[in-house]
Amino acid sequence: MPRCFAPIALGIALVASAGCTPTVKVTADEPITINLNVNIQHEIRIKVDKELDSILSENSGLF
């Protein structure tokens, strides 16, 4: 192959690769945190939790 082809081929390869840079993020940036500022008595909280768990289950069709 003539020597002048090498830089041309390199140039084409660089341009081609510039458009092919798929980025795959394997790790999350930061964890998803929820701040719960809820002031409820413990026993009532347990009961509310249980009732919410019930509607969050598959059967309700709401979640």
Partner: protein, 112 residues
Amino acid sequence: MTTYHTVTAKLLFLVALLFAGGHAMALELDDAKARGLVGEQPDGYLGVVQDTAEVRTLVTDINAKRRAEYQRIATANNVGLADVEKLAGGKAIEKTAAGNYVRGADGAWRKK
């Protein structure tokens, strides 16, 4: 006489088709979540990720039903609706499948 019955039969068939397809075409919640059309929010309600009329209809419908449930739980336990909503939101986000959308405190949608 044969022609009259055939036409009537055909008309009835077409009318039946009109009503038959209705429910099957409505957007289902599981489907919408899997397709990234909707996502869970910290306030306990479903949010619109892809804004279309169909998605908005689903979201409005689901959220109305959720609100009714939250209100029922709040009243039954003598706690504020907002508290129930927040607790529900936390649970819903926790329960969201990986790859589905959730809304952050900053309002931005992210895939879990």
